[in-house]
């Protein structure tokens, strides 16, 4: 069980080898890749930034939750930081289990929760030269809300 933030290329083949376990009948992986379009805008590249100690702590909490909910053997999640080009791997998750149902469900749980909870941010660079921190527009929900008190 490991949740790791890295500024190096993710190498799924090497990571998969660390998950060899002859009790495992199923291994489900998820790759999140930089895609060329988001909300109809052409994307050129992405920057990812993380608050590493808290990201790894919150990430491990998610893996623990996934293991409590589903009968899995092992889970590995690696998330990139730094500048990524189209097609690059941003996040890679692998889950091994005796049976496939648990592997699919735990893998889905990890990516859904990681996107919602782990302190990682994404800045998109568009074909037209503009940039945007995703989810940080100030016209979104809450933008007109009261300050914390």
């Amino acid at each position: 069980m490991e949740f790791r933030i890295t500024d190096r290329d993710i190498d799924p083949a090497a990571l998969l080898r660390s998950l060899g376990d002859t009790r495992a009948g199923a291994c489900v992986t998820f790759e999140g890749r930089v895609r060329q379009q988001n909300d109809g805008r052409g994307v050129k590249s992405l920057d990812y930034e993380a608050f590493v100690p808290l990201a790894e702590k919150e990430g491990m909490k998610i893996l623990d939750e996934a293991r409590e909910k589903h009968a899995v053997l092992d889970i590995l999640c690696v998330h990139r930081t730094g500048s990524l080009a189209l097609g690059d791997l941003a996040v890679w998750i692998a889950v091994t289990a005796e049976h496939r149902g648990a592997a699919f469900e735990a893998c889905r749980y990890v990516i859904d929760e990681a996107k919602a909870r782990v302190p990682i941010w994404k800045k998109e660079h568009y074909a037209d030269g503009s940039t945007e921190w995703i989810n940080c527009a100030t016209r979104g929900p809450g933008a007109s809300g009261a300050a914390p008190a």
Binding site: W121, C136, G140, A149
Partner: protein, 81 residues
């Protein structure tokens, strides 16, 4: 009585502040008060309702007390994956 705390900014806050970490002297008693103070000083566009705060590398409620020597991090809405 001013306390000295370490403040970290990420993503859009880091860009709007122009740096990632700074030492701040503040009279704010809660994390919420400190964010409002810094938001006004640096012109942050994100309201506190859309930010989370971590104190000494753990998520904390906005009501968390600010103590001498704390490390606070202000976290914009996340977007991993």
């Amino acid at each position: 009585m001013k306390k000295s705390v370490r403040v970290s900014y990420f993503a859009i806050l880091r860009e709007q502040r122009g740096l990632g970490t700074e030492q701040v002297a503040t009279e704010a008693s809660t994390a919420a008060e400190l964010y409002e103070e810094l938001k006004t000083r640096h012109g942050f566009t994100l309201p506190g309702t859309r930010i989370r705060v971590a104190v000494n590398d753990d998520f904390q409620p906005w009501s968390a007390e600010v103590r001498e020597g704390d490390s606070l991090a202000f976290l914009p809405p996340v977007a991993g994956g």
